[in-house]
C-alpha cells in the first residue's frame, strides 16, 4: 500500500504544477484576449520578429554614439 501513498504525492505535485502554470498564464494576461491569438496563428508568418530581441537590439544601438 505504500505505492498508493507515493502515487498520491506525485499526483498532488503534478496537479500543483498545472495549477502554477494556470496561475502564471492568467497573470501573464493570456486570458485577456481570447480571439486574436486564434486568428493570428493562421497568418503566414513572413517577418514578424521576436519582440524581445528587437528591444535589446535597439537598446544596443542606443549605446553606440
Amino acid at each position: 500500500m505504500e505505492a498508493v501513498l507515493f502515487l498520491i504525492i506525485i499526483g498532488v505535485i503534478v496537479a500543483g504544477g498545472f495549477l502554477a502554470a494556470f496561475i502564471w498564464a492568467v497573470r501573464n494576461g493570456q486570458y485577456d484576449d481570447d480571439y486574436s491569438p486564434s486568428v493570428r496563428m493562421l497568418f503566414d508568418n513572413k517577418k514578424q520578429s521576436e519582440p524581445e530581441k528587437e528591444i535589446s537590439e535597439s537598446n544596443n544601438n542606443n549605446l553606440k554614439p
Partner: protein, 797 residues
Amino acid sequence: MVKPCVHCGADCGSSPVVWEGKDFCCHGCKTVYQILNENQLGEYYQIQPMSGIRIDSGQPLKRFAFLDIEEIAHKLIDFKDGNISKIKFFIPAIHCASCIWLLEHLDTLHPGISYSTVNFPRKEVQITFKNDQITLRQLAELLTAIHYTPEITLDQLENKKISKANRNLLLKIGVASFSFMNIMMYSFPEYLPGGDLLEERFKNIFGWLSFILILPVVFFSANDYYLSAYKGLKHKIISIDLPITLGILALFFYSSYVVFSGRGIGYMDSLAGLLFFLLIGKWYQGKTYEALSFERDYKSYFPVAVTVMKDGEEEIIPIRDLKKGDRILIRNQELIPADATLVKGKGSIDYSFVTGEAMPVSKKINDFIYAGGRQAGSSIELVVEKAVEQSYLTQLWNQSNVKSESETLNNHINNISQYFTSAVLLIAFSASAYWATIDIKIAVYVFSSVLIIACPCALALTVPFTFGSTMRAFGRRGFYIKNTDVVEQLYRTTTIVFDKTGTITLNRKVEVGFQGEQLKDLETDLISNMVRHSSHPLSAALNDFLPEAEENFPENYEEIPGMGITGTVTGHRVTLGSEQFVTGIITDAPMKESRVYISIDGQQRGYYTFMNSYRKGLTELISDLKKKYKLHLISGDNDAEAGNLRELFGHESQLHFQQSPVEKKQYIQQLKKNKEKVLMIGDGLNDAGALSESQTGISIAENVFSFSPACDAILEASRFNRLGKFIAFTRSSFKVIRVSFFISLFYNIIGLSFAVTGKLSPLIAAILMPVSSITVVAFVTFSIGWLAHRKLRFDNE
C-alpha cells in the same frame, strides 16, 4: 447589377471609381487599396474579402496636430525608453480577422514601427515604434490613412484604466477546480462498496490532505461570498449570499471536525465542488463588453486640444490649459469646448447632440455660445468666457449620478432568499430541537446537515445563468447591456420615456418634399448650382437631395443671412429662401416644418419642405409598446412635429417639448416619485442626466463603439424597432427562472428529508449537489437559447 467596392463592399453606384480594373465606391477606399497594394499587403483582402472601412467623404479628416505637444504625448505613451516608445490606441473600426492581420503588419508600412499587437475584444492596438523615425502624430496619421482612425479623448488622457478584476475570478476558479479534482480522488474510496475496509492510516492521510487543499478554497476562492453576505446584512438585506455563506461555513466546520477526530474526510469534496460551480456561474454572468463603455461623461466627447490664436498665429494647446479670455479657432465640424463669445466668422452651431435641437442654430458676432456645439460651416473665432469645467453644460454633466447601492441590491433573487433563509433556519432549529430530546450529538449533526444540504447552490446558479444567457442572446442581436441587473430592471419597467432628436428621428437626415408644380430637370439643376455655394444647413440638405447637376457658377451670387440666396445661373435668375424673402408675404402662423421657397426668373414655383425622418419601424414599435406601457416623449427641440407625434403616440401619452437637460432629469425624478419604473431611451449628452436618473437608461447609437452617454445599455440604431421584443423577452427570462426555482426546490426537499432524519451521508451530498446544479444550469441555458431563437428571430438574420 450591384457592384460591390473591392475595399469596403459598399455599393459602388452608377459611377464607380476604377483603378487597375477594380471598382471602388469612393476615392478614400481607392487610396487605401493603393497604399496596401504598393506595400504588398494585398493579403488583407484575401483573409476576409471586402473588409475595409469606409469613411464618408463628408466627414472631415481628424486632426492629430495636438500629438506634437510633449505634454499630451507623454500622457498617452505607456512606456518610453530611449528611442523606443509603446502606445495603445483604441480603434473602434477593428472588426475582423483582416483588421488584425493588417494592424499587426504595420511594420511593413513604415520602418519606424517595430511591431504591433491587437487586442481584439478591447479593439486596441499596441504599437512599439522608434521615436527618431516616426512621431506619435505621424503614427496616428498613418493609421488614419488606412482608415483605422484612432480615438483619442480627454478621458483617456486623464485616467488610464486597466481592469484586472476578471483575472482574479479566473484565479479563484482555477484554485477551486484544482482542490475539487484532488479531493474528489481522496473521497472516492468512501463511496465504493468496501470503502469502510480502507486502512485507518489512509483515512487519516486523505482527511488531512483534503483539509489542506480546502483551505485556499475557503479562504481565497470563496471570500467574495462572505463579503457580499456581510454587505447585505449591513444594509439589512438577506441576500442569496447569506445562505451560501452559512452552507460553506457549516460544510467547512463540520468536515474539519470529522477530519480532526480521524473519522474520514466529511463533505470536503462537496464543498470544493459547490464553490467551483458557483464561481463558474459568477464568471458566466460577469461577461462584459470590453470595447463598449457605459460610463462615459463629457470628457470622452471633448477634444484633447484646441487651436488658440496668439498674436495672429495659430497654436495648439491642451484643453486643460484653456483660460478665460483665450481666442480660439474652431474649424468646420469641430467642437466648441467652453462657453465663449463669437468674435469672427458666421456661426452655425449644431447642438443636436447636446440639446436635441435638430437644426443648427445661426450665431452672429458677439453672440454667446454654449460649449458642446459643433460648428457646421467655415471656421470661426471665439473668445473663451469660462474655463472648460465651469461651462454651463459641463457642470450639468458632472453632477454625480451614482445609483444608490440599496436600489441595485434589492432585487428579485434577494427577495426570495429572505424567505428561503428563514425557512431553512426554521427547519434546522426545529429538527435539531426534536433530536435534542433523543440525542444531543444527533441534534448537532442534523442541524449542520440541514445547513449543508440547503445551501442554495442550484438556486444561486439559476439567476446568473438565466440572466447571463439573456445578456448574450441580446448582445448577439445588437442590444448590449451593462450587467445582468439590467435584465431585471427591464422586466420591471412600467413607463418608457423617449427622446426625440436622434432617438426616434435620424440625426443629420431630413426628408425633403416639394409643394407646387413639378419642376423640370433643367430647373432643379439651376437650384442645385445655387445651393452648392451656401453653407446653410437647409442648403446642404437640399444639395444632398437634388440629383447631381452639371456645374455652372452662379453670377451676382448673394447670400443674405437669415433670409436666403439669390443669383443668376446660365441666364436664369434664381431666388431661394424664406417666405418673406422670396414672396414678400409675412405669415405669422406657426409653421409645421421648415420651408425653402423657390422663385425662378421672378416666377414663384412653390417650396421645399424639410421634415425629420423617423426611424424605420417606429410606428409599429410605438403601437406595440402603447398597449403595455405608459409612454412619454421629452424633446429638447421645438414642437414643430407635435401634430405628427401626437398621432403616433396616441392621446394617453404625454409629449413635452423644449425641455432643457435639467428639466428632462427632473421629469424622470417626478415619474419615479409616482412609483413608476422608468426606462429612458436617448442618444445625446442632453439626455445624460435623464438616462442616469431612470432605472434603465438605454442609449441608442449608430456605431456602438463611438461615443454614447453614460447608460445601462446600448442599443444598435438598426435594432431600434426591436426594442419592444427585447423588453418582452425579459418576461420569458423570468418564467424560466420560476420553473428553475421549482426544480431546485424539489432537489432541496429531497435533500432536506435526508437531513432532518439524520441520514445525510457524504455520498448523498456528493451526488445530490452536483446533479442539482447541473440540471438547473442545463435547463436554464437551453431554455433561454431556445426561447431567444424563437422569439428574437429577426427577419434580417
